[in-house]
C-alpha cells in the first residue's frame, strides 16, 4: 500500500495496464506529456514511457475523440479515452450510445468494443451549470454500456484497471474533488470486479446505497450513528450498470430499510431504478419506504452559497435515515 491521490491511483492503473498489454492506448485533450499529461495529470508520464503513438493529445473534438476510441477498440486495441468533463459527453454521445454501446449487438456478437471512457465531473467547486453535471443515469439507461463510479483512491485504481481489460465499453466517472483526495492504494496488480457492489460496512438496521463522492459522508454518518447504536449497512455500488441487484436486495431484505444517496438530480436518477426494484422485490417486507436523496430539480448554481444547499450533506443523510427508522 502507498498513500496517493485518486488521480495518481488512476494513473497507476493506466500505466500498469499499458505496461502489461501493448494494445492499451490513451487519447484525449492534453493527455500526452508535452501538453502536461492531462489537466489532472492522470496520464502524466505515459507518452514519455510508452511513446507518442500510444498516448495522443487530441484537438478539442469530442466526437473525433470518442469515435477514434470506438474505431481503435473495434480494431482490437483497448483505448482509454478522456472526455475532459462529463458535460462535454453531450458532444460525444452519438459515438458512445449509437456506436460503442450497440456495435456488438448489431454485429451479432462479431465485433467487440473494449473501450474505456474516463470523464470527470461533480459539483462543489463553484464551476456552475455547465461543468458539474452527473449524467450517469443516461448511460445506465443505455444497454451495452457499463458505468463505473469509484469512491476511494484504491477503487480508482482497481476499477479503472478492470474497465480497461473489460471487453465491453465502460464509462469511468471520476470526481473532480475526489481526484485530489489521498488514500491507501495497493501497489502492483489490483483489479476489482465490475458489476459487484461493495459492502463497505455491515449493519442490521438500515441499508444506505450510494456511490462516488457522497460515499465519504455516508461512511461518516454510518459511523456516528453506529455510536448511537443505530447499525447502518453501507453499500458502495461501484458499478451503476449492470446494477448488482442481488447485493442490494440481500441487504435490504435483512435491514428492511433503505436510503439511496447520489449527487445527481434525484428525479429520473439512478436512485429511482434502485428504489423501484427494492419495492418491487421486497414488497410487503419493508419497514419504511425507500428514501432517495439527490439534487433537487435544478441546474447547478455558481454561487457557493447556493451550490451547497442543493448538494447532499451529512445532516440530510442522517435525516433520511432517521425518517426510515420512523
Amino acid at each position: 500500500m502507498i498513500k496517493v491521490t485518486a488521480a495518481e491511483a488512476a494513473r497507476m492503473a493506466i500505466e500498469e495496464a499499458m505496461a502489461a498489454d501493448p494494445t492499451v492506448i490513451a487519447l484525449g485533450e492534453e493527455v500526452a506529456d508535452p501538453e502536461g499529461g492531462g489537466i489532472r495529470k492522470v496520464t502524466k508520464g505515459l507518452s514519455t514511457r510508452f511513446g507518442a503513438d500510444r498516448v495522443k493529445s487530441t484537438p478539442i473534438s469530442e466526437q473525433a475523440i470518442m469515435g477514434a476510441a470506438v474505431g481503435a477498440a473495434i480494431a482490437g486495441m483497448r483505448p482509454v479515452a478522456e472526455i475532459m468533463l462529463m458535460n462535454f459527453m453531450t458532444l460525444a454521445l452519438d459515438q458512445l450510445v449509437n456506436h460503442a454501446a450497440k456495435i456488438r449487438y448489431m454485429s451479432g456478437g462479431a465485433t467487440s468494443v473494449p473501450l474505456t471512457v474516463r470523464t470527470m465531473t461533480g459539483a462543489g467547486r463553484s464551476l456552475g451549470g455547465q461543468h458539474s453535471d452527473m449524467v450517469e443515469a443516461w448511460l445506465a439507461h443505455t444497454p451495452g454500456l457499463k458505468v463505473v463510479v469509484p469512491s476511494t483512491p484504491a477503487d480508482y485504481k482497481g476499477l479503472l484497471y478492470s474497465c480497461i481489460f473489460d471487453d465491453d465499453p465502460c464509462v469511468f466517472v471520476e470526481n473532480s474533488i475526489h481526484l485530489s483526495a489521498r488514500g491507501d492504494v495497493p501497489v502492483g496488480l489490483h483489479a476489482i470486479p465490475l458489476g459487484k457492489a461493495h459492502i463497505v460496512r455491515p449493519g442490521a438496521d438500515v441499508t444506505i446505497i450510494s456511490y462516488g463522492r457522497p460515499m465519504d459522508d455516508v461512511k461518516k454518518v454510518a459511523e456516528s450513528l453506529g455510536e448511537e447504536g443505530i447499525s447502518v449497512e453501507v453499500i458502495d455500488l461501484r458499478t451503476i450498470s449492470p446494477l448488482d441487484e442481488a447485493a442490494i436486495l440481500n441487504s435490504v431484505a435483512k435491514t428492511k430499510r433503505a436510503v439511496i444517496v447520489h449527487e445527481a438530480v434525484r428525479s429520473f436518477g439512478v436512485g429511482a431504478e434502485i428504489a423501484a426494484r427494492i419495492h418491487e422485490h421486497l414488497f410487503g417486507e419493508l419497514a419504511a419506504p425507500v428514501q432517495r436523496l439527490g439534487m433537487p430539480y435544478t441546474p447547478v448554481p455558481f454561487s457557493s452559497a447556493l451550490e451547497k444547499t442543493i448538494l447532499w450533506s451529512p445532516e440530510k443523510i442522517t435525516a433520511a435515515i432517521r425518517k426510515t427508522l420512523g
Binding site: 492506448i25 503513438d53 500510444r54 495522443k56 487530441t58 484537438p59 473534438s61 466526437q63 473525433a64 470518442m66 469515435g67 477514434a68 476510441a69 470506438v70 474505431g71 481503435a72 477498440a73 473495434i74 480494431a75 482490437g76 486495441m77 483505448p79 452519438d94 459515438q95 449509437n98 456506436h99 456495435i103 456488438r104 449487438y105 448489431m106 454485429s107 451479432g108 456478437g109 462479431a110 465485433t111 467487440s112 473494449p114 444497454p143 451495452g144 457499463k146 473489460d166 471487453d167 465491453d168 458489476g195 449492470p242 446494477l243 448488482d244 441487484e245 442481488a246
Partner: protein, 333 residues
C-alpha cells in the same frame, strides 16, 4: 507529348483490373435489381437505400484494396459491402432478418458488418463513420501495419461536425485513411447547394492541409486512378486523402422516393449516362472482353444472386432469446 501519352497509358487499370471492377459492379447492379424487385413485390420488408448509379466508385476503390484493409460505410452501403467482398448469402440473409445473416439478423441492412473481409462498420448516423475510421487507422499505425482504412459518406455528410473534426485529426496524426465522399448531388431531398456552401467538397481539404481531389466517380478509370493514389499514399504512411467522387443515385433516397424535389429531367439525364453501361462499352471497345463474355459473367452472377436470395428466404429467423444476446461480452445480471 509521347511521354505524356505513355504515362497516361500506364496510369490506367489493365484489362484484368477493368474486368475485376466490372464484376464487382455487376454484382452490385444485379443485387440491387433483385433487392428492389423483392421489396417492391412485398416479399422482403426492409428499409433500402439503393446505391445504384454509384457502383463504379466502390468497385474501383475495392480493386485497389487488400482483403485486410478496412472499410466503413453508411446505410447506402450495399455497393461498398459487395465490392469489398461480403458474401452474397450473408448479405441477403441479413437483409431478410435471418439468423444466418452476417449479423444474425440483428443489425440489418443499415448495419451490415463482416470483419473477415474488412467491413467493420456500417452506420445509419450521417457522418459518424469518419471519426471511427480514424480509430481504425490509428490502430493500424500503432501496430505498424500498412493497412488502409476507407470511410465512405455522402455529400450531405460533409456538412456535419464529425467531418470537420475527423479530417483535422487525421491530418494532424497522419493517419492511413481515405475519406471517400460519394457526391450524388442530394442529401435525402436536399439539393447539393441547399446544404453545402462550397462548390467542390474536395476543396475543404485545404482546411486540414490534406490533399483533396474531385473525380468523376462514374468513370472507372478516373476513379481507379484516384483510389490508387490515395491508397498508395496511405499505405506509404503519407497520410490521409479526401476524394470527392461525383455521381448520382438512380432510385432516390430510399425505396418509394417520389423524386418530386428533383429538377425535371435531372434523373433521366443521369440515367442515360449509366456508369455501368459505360464501363461495359469501354471494356468491349478496348477488347478486354467481348459482349458475350460479359453477358456470361452476368448470367453466372445472376444465378449466384438468385441462390443467395433463395437461401435467405428459406433460412430460419433467429430464436426469440437471441434478442437478449450479444448486449455484453460477458453475461451480466
Amino acid at each position: 507529348m509521347t511521354d505524356t501519352t505513355a504515362h497516361a497509358a500506364a496510369d490506367e487499370p489493365d484489362a484484368g483490373a477493368l474486368l475485376d471492377i466490372y464484376k464487382r459492379a455487376a454484382t452490385i447492379v444485379l443485387t440491387d435489381e433483385k433487392l428492389r424487385a423483392v421489396i417492391r413485390s412485398g416479399r422482403l420488408s426492409t428499409p433500402y437505400y439503393s446505391p445504384r448509379g454509384q457502383e463504379i466508385i466502390s468497385a474501383a476503390m475495392a480493386v485497389n484494396l487488400r482483403k485486410d484493409d478496412y472499410v466503413v460505410t453508411i446505410y447506402r452501403g450495399m455497393h461498398d459491402h459487395l465490392a469489398k467482398g461480403v458474401p452474397l448469402k450473408d448479405l441477403w440473409a441479413e437483409y431478410a432478418g435471418k439468423a444466418a445473416g452476417s449479423c444474425k439478423g440483428k443489425g440489418g441492412p443499415m448495419h451490415i458488418t463482416h470483419p473477415d473481409v474488412g467491413v467493420l462498420v456500417t452506420t445509419g448516423i450521417v457522418g459518424s463513420g469518419l471519426p471511427i475510421a480514424n480509430g481504425l487507422a490509428w490502430a493500424s499505425k500503432i501496430r505498424q501495419e500498412d493497412r488502409v482504412t476507407v470511410t465512405n459518406f455522402g455529400d450531405g455528410a460533409s456538412n456535419i461536425g464529425a467531418f470537420h473534426e475527423s479530417l483535422n485529426m487525421a491530418s494532424l496524426w497522419k493517419l492511413p485513411v481515405i475519406f471517400l465522399c460519394q457526391n450524388n448531388r442530394y442529401a435525402e431531398h436536399t439539393r447539393y447547394d441547399k446544404g453545402t456552401s462550397i462548390e467542390r467538397i474536395s476543396d475543404r481539404a485545404v482546411s486540414y492541409s490534406m490533399p483533396g481531389v474531385t473525380v468523376n466517380g462514374n468513370d472507372a478509370i478516373e476513379m481507379w486512378r484516384a483510389a490508387r493514389d490515395a491508397v498508395a499514399r496511405a499505405r506509404a504512411g503519407e497520410g490521409p486523402t479526401l476524394i470527392e467522387a461525383n455521381t448520382f443515385r438512380f432510385h432516390g433516397h430510399h425505396m418509394g422516393d417520389s423524386g418530386e424535389y428533383m429538377a425535371k429531367g435531372e434523373l433521366e439525364a443521369a440515367m442515360i449516362r449509366d456508369p455501368f453501361v459505360a464501363l461495359r462499352q469501354l471494356i468491349v471497345a478496348r477488347g478486354a472482353a467481348s459482349d458475350a463474355d460479359l453477358t456470361a459473367m452476368e448470367d453466372a452472377l445472376r444465378t449466384e444472386i438468385d441462390e443467395a436470395a433463395a437461401y435467405a428466404f428459406a433460412a430460419k429467423y433467429p430464436e426469440p432469446e437471441e434478442a437478449l444476446e450479444d448486449v455484453y461480452a460477458s453475461a451480466v445480471s
